[in-house]
Every structure is written in C-alpha cells, then in structure tokens.
C-alpha cells in the first residue's frame, strides 16, 4: 500500500513536470533554444490563479476550472508577448545570444514578480472542493485527482492539436525544416507565436496544479520545478513531445521514490543525477533521435 501511495504521489508530481517540460520541448522544436524564462511563466500562472481565485467562485468544480482556464489564457498572452519583444528581434542570431536573453527575461519576470506580488510566500486558495478518498489505507485527495484529470485532458488536447490540426502540422513541419516550411506558405513567425502560447498555457496549468498541492507560492517558486522540468524534457529527448510527457512522469516517480526510500535530503539532487546520467548514457534522450547539434 505504501508503495502504491508513493506511486500516486509520484505520478501527480510527474504530471506537473510533464506539463512544464512540454513547453520547453515545443519551443526548442521550433526555435532550437531553451527558453529559460519558461519556469517564470509557470510562476505567473500560479499567481494568475491566486488572484483569479479571489474574484471567481472558487472551491467549486466549475469555478476551479474557470480559474485554470483564465490563468492559461493570461500566460498564453504573456508567452506571445515575451517571444515578440525579446526573442523575435534576435532571429538569425547565435543560440548563445538568445539563451542569454532568455536568462535576462527570467530575471526580469522574477523581479517584476517580487515588485508586483511581493516577496513573501502567499498561501494558495482552495480552488476545488476538498475531499479525501481512501481505498484500503491509500489516500487520494481531490486535488490529486484534479491533477490527473486536468493533465490527461490537456495531453489529449495537445495530441489532437499537434497531430490533427493545420497549425499543429505546421509546427511539426517548421520544427523539421523552417526553410521548407516558409516555402510552402507557412508564416513561421505566426506558428512560433502559437507555439509560445501553447507552451505557456501548459506552464500555467502546471503552475496552478503545483500550487494546489504545495499550497504556498512566491515569485521565485518557478526556479526549481522549472529546472527539473527542463531535465525531464532532456530525459525524454529535447524537441520530442511524447518524450517530454514521459520524461516528466518518470522524473516525478523517481524523485518521489527516492524520497520514500529515505533520501529526502537528496530530493532536489535526484533530477540533476538523472540529467548527468542521461547525458552520459543517451544524450539524445529516451525518445529523441541522435543528431548533431550546431550551437
């Protein structure tokens, strides 16, 4: 039972990592750089949920979903604005230039967050009705159920968008060959904006699901989950969408199991051990294809 309980905890943590990791991997797919500001969009998502939770009818199922949706929209817009102002002017520049800019945007968001939201941790409101379900000693909270339901719904929706729609196919085409994509009439900038919107919306969902399970939020909260989700994306194969989901879930499980086995001191080190291991053993990630990368 203890093991099953840990499995559930690991899966719900992994689901959150997966949601954030997808944003890293999708942006990498279309622009070939790691958007380090992504973890702070996750933070803004949590704060958007915090403020929306005050004005919208919370602690009801519909109200909770409304807050979630609102935060996703806010972050989608934020993602598009960041791309337009910070990254688009650097199109064609070296990856290093863009990476440094991403770190700058990340610092900007963190400091703006401290200025606007205050540096003190805030306790996150209850968005969904609270209930604990027990099955023979195992406890599943309604917030954990929310994590699973929302994550699965989002993953299915994302799969549909990426695999079945015109814009999703364009994303895959662009990520394979931007020149060929523009030659068939795809407006690459538009598709890149869409990718940022999508990735940022997922980060917002991740931020809210994180906040309801770890109920205090602050402007620097994105750093650690963001880094771990980045590791998850690398673990799955950076640029590979199913890989990011898989990497997130695996990393959540590994981290939880290590803690359960008495290694709670190493909670945050686990992800980096995984990163070093994967880079040594299989640098292309679990589902990624090996390819030479020009940086």
């Amino acid at each position: 039972m203890e093991f099953l309980q840990q499995l559930i905890n690991g899966l719900s943590l992994g689901a959150i990592y997966a949601l954030i990791a997808l944003g890293y991997t999708m942006v990498y797919g279309v622009l070939r750089f790691i958007n380090f500001a992504h973890s702070d969009v996750f933070m803004v998502g949590a704060f958007a949920g915090f403020y929306l939770g005050r004005v919208l009818p919370a602690a009801s199922f519909g109200g909770g979903l409304l807050v979630l949706f609102g935060a996703m929209v806010i972050c989608a817009v934020l993602g598009v604005v960041i791309e337009k102002l910070a990254y688009r002017p650097l199109r064609g520049r070296s990856t290093l230039t863009v990476l440094i800019t991403a770190i700058g945007v990340s610092l900007l968001l963190q400091n703006a967050g401290q200025l606007i939201f205050g540096a003190n941790p805030k306790s996150f409101p209850k968005l969904f009705p609270q209930h604990n379900f027990t099955f023979g000693g195992m406890v599943l909270s309604s917030d954990q159920i929310a994590v699973f339901v929302v994550t699965i719904a989002i993953l299915l929706g994302l799969h549909y968008i990426v695999m079945k729609t015109r814009i999703g196919t364009a994303m895959r085409a662009l990520s394979f060959n931007p020149t060929a994509a523009s030659l068939v009439g795809i407006n690459n900038d538009m598709v890149i904006s869409f990718t940022f919107a999508l990735g940022s919306a997922l980060a917002a969902a991740g931020g809210i699901l994180y906040a309801i399970n770890y109920p205090s939020i602050d402007p620097l909260m994105g750093t650690l989950p963001g880094l771990k989700a980045f590791v998850a994306a690398v673990l799955g194969g950076i640029g590979n969408i199913p890989g990011a989901a898989l990497g997130g879930v695996l990393l959540g499980l590994i981290e939880t199991l290590v803690v359960a086995m008495g290694g709670s001191t190493y909670r945050d080190a686990v992800a980096f051990a995984v990163l070093i291991l994967i880079l040594l053993v299989r640098p292309s990630g679990l589902l990624g294809k090996l390819q030479a990368e020009k940086v």
Binding site: T169, R172, A173, L183, N187
Partner: protein, 236 residues
C-alpha cells in the same frame, strides 16, 4: 511574367550574384544552367524571399517581390521546389501535401489539387500514409514537386530536380515537368546542372557563371552553341 533586373546578392563578404538579369515569359519553360557555385540556388532563393538582395529588382507581373516574406511570395502564386527536395521527413505524404496547400482554405480546391497531383504522380497516392522520410529519393522528388503544386501556383521554380536520382527516373520527372507546363499552363523556371535534359525540354535558357549571366538564347540555339557544348554538354 517574371523579370529579374541587375540582381546582386551576397552572403556576408562573399558576393554570389553580380547583377543578374533574366526574364520568363508566361507559359514558357525557362532554364538556368551553370556549374557548381554559379549562383543558381541563390537566384531562386532570392526570388522566394529567403534572401535579401543588395541591389536590383524582381518583378512578378509588374509587382516587386523584393522585401516580401517567403509566405507572401507563395500567396502571389509562386512556388519553389528547393534544392535537396526538403520534404518534411517526419510527416506523412498526405501531411506533406496538406502543408503544400497551407494557404488554401477552400476544401474543394484542396481536394481537386490532391486529385491533380495524384494523377501526375500515382506513386504518391499509393504511399499517401507513409512517412516521407522512408520514401526513395525519386519518390521524395515527386513529393517535393507535388507539394509545390498543392498551392496551385502560376509560376513554379525548381532547383535541380534531377539531383541524386537514377537516370531512368530523371527522364520520367522531366516528362512530368513538361506535362505540368503544357496541361496545367504553369510557367516554369528550371535550374539544372543536367544541361542536356534541361535544354531539351525548355524554350529559353540562361547560362550562369560565377554570379553573372554569360549567355542567353533559345534553348535549341544554346544546344548548338560551341561554348555551351564544351562546358556543359560534355562534348566538343
């Protein structure tokens, strides 16, 4: 239909085109031949908006293409089959063709385009659900041409469609090029190193050498030109 005047293009310090001028009449097949590094690909990429010229003008039906983004150029009815085919290897044949019709919103027209492409290249229909990366080189070239036709262009640019393809298949592809020109009335600018074949199917030809047009004439006349014969047709 297409009028290029004194086009100059450089990559940083390297100048690839030193004032290239050429024109393509509606309904014709015009070929641009020249050796490695002559600037053929550069010319097409500049027309498509992938490169910005330092100087010169590109007029399509009197409208300047200079400064337009590639997708705007496609919108105007030009389509470009790039060198090396560049099919989306991670997408199926069907998805590749759908991407070719990216700007087309009319479902009926898209269906008609599929039918017309499949009539030209029946092989693509057989492979419709196959991932493009697993197609043979020749099939990928058919797909690249088919994808370019899906936008229902009036003007088609092709960059070395014979590159890396078995001679027998090259012949088939050149027959298809003629067919596309005749039956669909699409004007074609064909870039080739295979000067023999290119001059056989085209009406007019230009010879490009280190970024300059050194000769231009009717294709039939160019084939008899001693300079062309010795340099590009492998004989004297």
């Amino acid at each position: 239909m297409l009028e290029i005047k004194e086009l100059a293009v450089s990559y940083g310090a390297i100048t690839a085109l030193h004032g290239v001028s050429l024109s393509v009449k509606p309904g014709s097949i015009v070929t641009l031949i020249g050796g490695n590094g002559a600037g053929k690909t550069t010319t097409l990429r500049t027309v498509s908006g992938l490169l910005k010229p330092q100087a010169g003008e590109i007029l399509y039906n009197g409208k300047s293409l200079v400064g337009l983004k590639p997708h705007r150029v496609v919108e105007l009815g030009l389509s470009h089959v790039p060198e090396g085919r560049m099919v989306f290897a991670n997408l199926t044949v069907h998805e590749n063709l759908m991407m070719g019709a990216y700007l087309q919103r009319d479902k009926n027209l898209i269906r008609a385009s599929f039918e017309s492409v499949f009539a030209t290249f029946p092989r693509l229909q057989e492979r419709e659900q196959q991932v493009a990366g697993t197609l043979s080189g020749g099939e990928q070239q058919m797909l690249a041409i088919g994808r370019a036709l899906m936008s229902r262009p009036k003007f088609l640019m092709m960059d070395e469609p014979s590159l890396g393809i078995a001679p027998l298949l090259v012949k088939t592809i050149f027959e298809k090029i003629v067919e596309i020109n005749r039956t669909q009335g699409i004007t074609i600018l064909l870039v080739e190193q295979n000067a023999n074949l290119a001059l056989e199917i085209s009406h007019f030809g230009y010879v490009l050498e280190t970024g300059k047009i050194i000769l231009s004439d009717n294709s039939a006349a160019l084939r008899q030109n001693p300079q062309v014969k010795s340099a590009y047709l492998g004989g004297g």
